[in-house]
Structures are given as structure tokens and as C-alpha cells.
């Protein structure tokens, strides 16, 4: 059991989208998680399973169509889910918790120089900061992260895709946030830029520029290389959480099993595994199925699965999964194919 200090604790967080027609879509459904100082957590899952919505929901700052329903988000012991939105904006965003959007390529205002945006960001939290100080701070950070200081005086259009991405990451960590949430920060990049971005995340952790990292992606091999733990989401719920190695090589939940089976990880033992896709699509979250949400697509489904509410079960060292079968039953089922 790790004895590190818990930096992010989320209890039963539920958020929903309200559509134009007034329907509710519960994209994050009673999600609980913990991240310790200096640790990183990866979140995996198919498109539409709620990964990105979870990232948005963790910020504690909601704007339509996303709405907060219930649950708590504690950063370093402080509950931000009950705070007034303007206080969240001034005291929390960027400083305690920061975000790197999915399309970081377009995350910068096209008609604003990078340094002008940095000035706006810093002045939210540090009203008296002079332009001179801000420039010096930004330059020091950029150079530390291997970005040329000349980037500061450029417009986003003058930067390459990879450079833009790294610039956005640098801006996100300007105020040394305790939690950094990166939503698919590398999916739009070529492999070389991807590698630089990954190296940058490692450096952020090692240099203590961020307290902890939540990394969202559909690229599992990447998670295995970057994060300590991996959490798998399905239809707005957590279906499994384990350390990175166990999540990739020894998944318990049939969905995780299917997800891991559908990728190639160049590691020993996986050489002879046949690639398999999971048939079907995730359920519509306007009317989530009662019982197990994965039942429709599960190879091992029983009639009971469709009616019983399935809770997360915890087995050794914080490893959890959501299935009515016990660990042994699952392992046996996988053995028999």
C-alpha cells in the first residue's frame, strides 16, 4: 500500500449533459478516484465512454451543456465542488488544477501572441504582476522545458503543431498546479512530436512542476509508458482500476480484457495473442441499461447481469473492478477462452 499524500480525491462525482431537448445524459456516473502526490493516473476507454467529460468534470467549473449533479472533488483536502464558480475560477483553475484540452493545437487564440495570453493567465491569480516579471517567469519555464524563448513573441499560427502542443502544456503548468489533467494531448501528433510531449510530461513530474497527472487517451501502450495506474471507463462508469502493468497484462473486467486484446503491445508473451475487437457499441447514456452496462457486448453475460446493479469490488492494494463474477471465476473464464 502506498503511503503517499492524497492530492486529488473524487467521491461519487456525477455530472450530466442537458441536451437542447431537455434530456439528461449521465456521462460521468458516480465516479470515485484518488491520486497521490507524485503519481499519475491514466484513463482509458473507447470514444464516448465519458473520458473527456470526466476530465472536464474534475475541473469543478461547469458551463452548459455540462452540469454538476452530486459528489465531491477534493484537491489537497479542499472541496472545490461546493465552491462558488467565481472563486473556483480565481483560486483553483490553473493554480490548483490545470487542463490541457483534447485539441491543444487550436487551444490558443489565433490573434494573440503567446506572451499576451500568459499575461492574462498570470494576472488572474497574481493581479499585481508586471509584464516584465511575467515575461521573465515564462522565459525561465519555457527554457527549462526546452522551448525557445522566442516562442513567447509569436502568434500560434507561426508555431508547428508539436510546438503549439508543448507551448500549451507549458502554459498549463505556469502556476505549478497540484493536478494536471491532459485530455488526449498527443493524439493529433506525429510520433516524433508525441515522444517529445511524453518526455515533457515525465519532466514535469520529475521536476515537481506538477503535483500529479491525469492522462486521458485511447492509446493504451502510451498509458503503460507514462502512468503509474490505469483506470478503464465504460459508459460513464469506472469498470476497472489497477497499476499500469496489471491493467495491461492482467485485466480483470471483460471490457478491459477486450480493450487490451485489441491492441498490440510489443512485450514478451503478447506475441502470439490474436487481435480481437469488441463487437457492438457503448449504450446510449440517455437511458442507461439497468444492470451491468457492458452486458450487451459481454461474451460471458448471464441473465443476472442484466438485472443486478453491479458495484465496484476491491481486491488487493486498491485494485478494483465492476463485475458480478469473482476474480477466480473471471480468470477461469479467460483460461477457457
Amino acid at each position: 500500500m502506498d503511503m503517499g499524500k492524497t492530492i486529488l480525491e473524487v467521491n461519487e462525482l456525477t455530472t450530466r449533459y442537458i441536451t437542447r431537448f431537455g434530456e439528461s445524459v449521465y456521462a460521468v456516473d458516480h465516479v470515485s478516484l484518488k491520486v497521490e502526490e507524485g503519481k499519475s493516473l491514466g484513463i482509458a476507454g473507447e470514444s464516448g465512454c465519458g473520458k473527456s467529460t470526466l476530465a472536464l468534470s474534475l475541473m469543478g467549473y461547469y458551463f452548459p451543456p455540462l452540469h454538476y449533479m452530486s459528489g465531491a472533488i477534493l484537491i489537497d483536502g479542499r472541496n472545490i465542488s461546493g465552491m462558488n464558480p467565481d472563486d473556483v475560477r480565481k483560486l483553483i483553475l490553473g493554480k490548483e488544477i490545470a487542463y490541457i484540452p483534447q485539441a491543444a493545437m487550436n487551444a490558443l487564440n489565433p490573434t494573440q501572441k503567446v506572451i499576451r495570453f500568459i499575461e492574462d493567465v498570470i494576472q488572474v491569480h497574481d493581479y499585481g504582476a508586471t509584464k516584465r516579471d511575467i515575461y521573465e517567469r515564462a522565459r525561465a519555464l519555457f527554457e527549462k522545458l526546452g522551448l525557445p524563448a522566442s516562442v513567447l513573441e509569436k502568434y500560434p499560427v507561426e508555431l508547428s503543431g508539436g510546438m503549439k502542443q508543448r507551448t500549451v502544456i507549458a502554459i498549463s503548468v505556469l502556476l505549478s498546479p497540484k493536478v494536471l489533467i491532459a485530455d488526449e494531448p498527443s493524439s493529433a501528433l506525429d510520433v516524433t512530436s508525441q515522444k517529445m510531449v511524453i518526455k515533457m510530461f515525465r519532466q514535469l513530474m520529475n521536476d515537481g512542476l506538477i503535483g500529479s497527472l491525469i492522462f486521458i487517451t485511447h492509446e493504451l501502450p502510451l498509458l503503460y509508458n507514462v502512468t503509474d495506474d490505469i483506470m478503464v471507463m465504460y459508459a460513464g462508469q469506472i469498470v476497472e482500476r489497477a497499476n499500469a502493468k496489471a491493467a495491461v497484462f492482467d485485466p480483470l473486467h471483460p471490457y478491459s480484457k477486450g480493450l487490451m486484446g485489441s491492441i498490440i503491445v510489443p512485450e514478451e508473451g503478447l506475441r502470439n495473442v490474436k487481435l480481437a475487437a469488441i463487437p457492438g457499441v457503448p449504450p446510449n447514456l440517455k437511458n442507461p441499461p439497468s444492470g451491468c452496462r457492458f452486458a450487451e457486448r459481454c461474451k460471458y453475460v448471464t441473465p443476472e447481469c442484466r438485472v443486478t446493479t453491479v458495484n465496484l469490488r476491491e481486491i488487493e492494494d486498491g485494485r478494483t473492478y465492476r463485475c458480478i463474477f469473482s476474480e477466480n471465476e473471471l480468470r477461469e473464464a479467460y483460461q477457457n477462452g
Binding site: 493554480k95 487542463y99 484540452p101 489565433p110 494573440q112 492574462d120 493567465v121 507561426e158
Partner: protein
């Protein structure tokens, strides 16, 4: 700055090339109209004369005066020389007034009518469009259909509707002219009041149509920008909504500025309809008279003014854009 110089020179050379062609067309097109305007004047002057050789002599005198006795390419070079000296010659239809005099007396009416109308329409339209995008809901649901409805009125339709309602039925404002027909232009309260009340109907007929179009354009640009990724990112970095709205409207405004500059450029041509419907003594009305009277010098001079205004407006936009929007500079410099 080298990239920008190249951009500037590129735009300047296009400006000059377009100007040369437009200048040529301005000269040739009116002269391609069938009919002989000189004959029309002569028949007016020579009314009641029975002496054929006398009429012939008068015709030749006028033909020499207007230069129509020479071959067209010679006329063209003489025209260039005269224009370079600022001399547009005599108006044929309003002889003996000079073209310069005719234009001088009408252009101020057009500018005073159109310029404020365009600016007011643009400001109101953009403000409403931006508010509709930001507030959404009921405001948007009412404003949009109304804007679409109003902006699709043809200009003359709007002018006639206003004239019928406020001029004929309610009799709030006079329906024609720039000032009372019984007054002479002077600085007196009576005259100024008359000008202001004559001003209302043409002014609002232009403003109303402009508001609708601008509001629609601004609304869709602002909605697009409000959903851009940089807005979400800026929000999550704790930037105030007010500041983000500033980013959004600056970006949404760029295409709208083009629209503004273009409508200022096409001001004179755009004035035609409102001025004709309300018999407003502006340049648009003058152009119409010029065309009716086959007044080559007057048509060429007025169309030249339009050409210069449109081209300069376009040129200015491109230059300003290069400064305001780094994306355009980057795309055009290489």
C-alpha cells in the same frame, strides 16, 4: 518586417492593375451606349431654327466642345490628360454646368446620408448579433427571424414601405427631396429643420436593411468563435468571461470589418435606390440623370469616383488585415 513589405507591394500592384482596367472600362462603357447625346442638346438649342446649315454649325461646335468629333482612342488620351489635371469637362445633359460642379453639389448629400447610415446600421447590427450569440434564448429566437426578414427586403421595397407608412399614411416626414422645395440652401433654422426631416426616411431605409444583414453575419461568426477550443482552454485557465468575450469578438469582428469597408466603398452605388425613390439630391440621383441623358463625361466621372472608393476600401482592408490578423500576414507573405 520584410514579409510585410512584400505583402504590401503585392497588394499595391494589384490595386494599380485593377485601377487601370477599371479606368478604361469607365471611359469606354458609357460611350458604347447607342444614341448621340450631342444631337439631343443641339435639338434643344436649335429649337425653332429652320436653317439646316446653322443647325449643322451648332452641332459641330458642340461636337468639338465635347470632343465627340475625334476618333475614340484620341478622345481617350485627351480624357486621361484632362483627368490628370482634375478637369472632367462639361456635363452634356446639364450643359453649361461642368461635371465638377454637378458632382460637387451632389456628393455631400450622398456622403451625409450614406456614411452615418452605414456606420449606424453596422454598429447596431453587430451589437445585436453579438448579443444574440452570447445571450441565446428568447432574445436570439426573436432577433434572428426578424433580421432575416428585414435583411431580405429589396432596398427599394424597404424605401417604399417606409415612405407609405411614415410619409403618406402618418405624414410624419416628407417623401421626397433633400429639403423643402420652397427653400433655398442657407444656414437657417428653417432650412436645417427641413433637411433633418427630409433625411429620416432615406436614412432609416438604409439602416434597417444593413442592421439585419450585419446581425446575421455577426451572430454566426460569434457563435462559431464562442465554441472554439481556445475559449474552453482560456476558461479552464481561469480567465474571466469578460476577457474571453473580448477575444471572441475581436476574432468574430474581422470579417465584419471587411463588410463595413466594402459598404463604405460601394456607398455611392448603393445610394442609387434610396436616393431615386426619395428623389434625394445626391450622387446616386445624379448618376441616374447622367445615364438617362447619355452624359458620357458625367457617367465616367461618377463611376470613376465609385471605382476609386471601392478599390481604396479594398486596399485599406487588405493592408489593415495584414496588421490585425497574423494568420493572413503569414499566409500571404510567402
Amino acid at each position: 518586417m520584410k514579409g510585410y513589405q512584400k505583402y504590401f507591394l503585392n497588394k499595391l500592384s494589384w490595386f494599380l492593375i485593377t485601377f487601370v482596367f477599371a479606368f478604361l472600362l469607365n471611359f469606354i462603357l458609357p460611350r458604347l451606349m447607342p444614341g448621340d447625346p450631342v444631337a439631343a442638346i443641339v435639338s434643344r438649342v436649335a429649337q425653332g431654327m429652320s436653317n439646316t446649315s446653322g443647325v449643322q454649325a451648332i452641332y459641330e461646335q458642340y461636337a468639338r466642345l465635347f470632343g465627340t468629333n475625334r476618333p475614340i482612342h484620341e478622345q481617350f488620351f485627351i480624357y486621361i490628360g484632362n483627368v490628370a489635371r482634375g478637369d472632367f469637362g462639361f456635363s452634356i445633359s446639364q450643359y453649361p454646368r461642368t461635371v465638377f460642379d454637378v458632382i460637387r453639389s451632389s456628393i455631400m448629400w450622398t456622403i451625409a446620408l450614406q456614411f452615418p447610415a452605414i456606420i449606424v446600421g453596422w454598429l447596431i447590427g453587430n451589437t445585436l448579433g453579438a448579443l444574440a450569440a452570447y445571450l441565446k434564448g428568447g432574445f436570439d429566437k426573436i432577433l434572428m427571424p426578424v433580421s432575416i426578414f428585414v435583411s431580405n427586403f429589396p432596398a427599394f421595397g424597404m424605401a417604399v414601405i417606409l415612405m407609405v407608412i411614415f410619409g403618406v399614411a402618418l405624414e410624419w416626414f416628407p417623401t421626397s427631396g433633400g429639403y423643402g422645395f420652397d427653400l433655398i440652401p442657407e444656414f437657417s433654422w428653417k432650412f436645417i429643420r427641413s433637411v433633418i426631416s427630409h433625411y429620416q426616411l432615406p436614412f432609416w431605409s438604409i439602416v434597417l436593411i444593413a442592421i439585419g444583414g450585419q446581425a446575421i453575419g455577426m451572430r454566426s461568426m460569434a457563435i462559431y468563435e464562442l465554441n472554439a477550443d481556445y475559449v474552453k482552454y482560456a476558461r479552464f485557465m481561469g480567465i474571466k468571461d469578460r476577457k474571453i468575450i473580448g477575444y471572441v469578438f475581436r476574432n468574430a469582428m474581422l470579417p465584419q470589418i471587411t463588410g463595413l469597408a466594402l459598404s463604405i466603398g460601394t456607398m455611392v452605388g448603393g445610394a442609387l435606390v434610396a436616393e431615386i425613390v426619395f428623389s434625394y439630391p445626391g450622387l446616386g440621383y445624379t448618376i441616374l440623370n447622367g445615364v438617362m441623358g447619355q452624359d458620357y463625361p458625367l457617367i465616367s466621372a461618377t463611376t470613376l469616383i465609385i471605382t476609386i472608393m471601392v478599390l481604396s476600401a479594398n486596399f485599406l482592408i487588405e493592408i489593415l488585415y495584414g496588421i490585425i490578423d497574423p494568420r493572413i500576414k503569414a499566409a500571404q507573405a510567402d
